[in-house]
């Protein structure tokens, strides 16, 4: 369920890096905890994000949750399809419902993130 080539945070985000660009999303566990997702607030292209800082929010019927960036860089692309279809985050959070693509300023940051195995162990507590 958790792709081995992705890296994860304890805040339940994932990132996968290709050619210096990191695609960021939330995990299956995160969407399951949130329940029906009804709203997504994402940054604009060109905004800078820093590792560990909030870059947006997702809202379920009941609550608002901040999104924390797993990596630092400049937002190169935003998944604006989620504005009209936030429920995709429940259906396919590791795929179609990615959130942002970030041009990494420090690719080494990724190494400090959790592997799929570490993350699943973390979930088990």
């Amino acid at each position: 369920m958790y792709p081995n080539n992705y890296r994860y945070t304890k805040d339940h985000e994932w990132v996968v890096v290709e050619n210096g660009v990191g695609t960021v999303g939330i995990t299956v566990h995160a969407q399951d905890e949130l329940g029906d997702i009804v709203y997504v607030d994402l940054p604009t292209v060109g905004a800078t994000v820093a590792k560990g800082d909030t870059f947006g929010s997702v809202e379920s019927v009941k609550a608002v949750s901040d999104l924390y960036s797993p990596i630092s860089g400049e937002v190169a692309e935003v998944n604006s399809a989620l504005n009209d279809a936030p429920e995709k985050l429940n259906a396919d959070p590791h795929g179609e419902a990615w959130l942002i693509k970030v041009k990494l300023t420090d690719p080494a940051e990724v190494e400090s993130l959790l592997s799929a195995e570490d993350y699943q162990n973390y979930l088990k507590g």
Partner: protein, 370 residues
Amino acid sequence: MSNSAESTLQRTPLFEEHRALGAKTIDFGGWDMPVQYSGIIDEHQAVRQRVGLFDVSHMGEIEVTGKEALQLVNWVATNDASRLVDGQAHYSALLYEHGGFVDDILVHRVNEEHYFLCVNASNQEKDFAHIVALNRFQAEVRLSSPDYVQIAVQGPKGVPLVQSLCDRDLSGIKYYWFVDDAVAGMSARIARTGYTGEDGFELYVSPADGPRLWRLLLEKGKEFGVTPCGLGARNTLRMESAMALYGHEIDASILPPEAGLNWIVKPAKGDFVGRDAVTALQESGISRKLCGFEMQGRGIGRDGYSVLVNGEAAGWVTSGGPSPTLGKNIGLCYLPVESATEGTAIQIVIRNQPVDAVVVKTPFYKREKS
């Protein structure tokens, strides 16, 4: 979510049922309660279209009995209980002397010497102490919450579902009336009341019978499309119906005229606690008023967010969220009376960003009466 923290929370007698159904539970006023099973939106739609089952055993019950039970109820609660006959219920409120809410309650008249009050879970001890302190009548007051499991069966198929387990014809029980009879052989108080804006019943049974009744309703309910529902859907359903929730629309700082609840205050019945304060406010006129809003810009106005009128802070959101029935983001807020009119442009401050909204009439949703 450590186990030690969970163990301090209270559980209803149906807790193991919820666990078996895979419910997600949350701490709701000290109770470990299901917030959802299949999903809030799915559960919400089930209640609007078919029938939903809610464990609301966390609600409190208070029995007022004795020769002067009516006098005590009419002294502590705002509505006129002398108008109730046996088997009839009404919505009412307990107020402080200054007119603010202690709680909102349902008053059921079992007989002339027995009134049965259903009160909010997290207020039950406070309500009980409040009533006891004001009891200067020949009446006894008992906090009887542990005696009941309460299951709400709500939705257009709610009446047929309960009927399928009852010998007695339930069609004669009108809205806000109740009978003490049996459901599937289990003694039950069967009340045609609810907190969803739909038809249905609230069933009060013994804790010993509770799990069996819950399972029977689920089993028998299959043919009616029954869905177990959590507090998440209960909240979106009551919000669409613009029903007050204590701690949100009403609390000790709010008086009934401000909350649009003059209709449950009956000064003509004689004196009662809070009467002078309420009638004084009714005469002088309110300065703020509860009203509904609908988001126009992107965003969801939520409880506690600030509301702007002409760019100035003017009020606050009491409840807000998506309306699954309307497909819009809605909410309730307090506004100065001059702004609390349909069509007024307002802004809700969402994460420091003012987002456009408009005042709309409530309720947001009203079922078609059959």
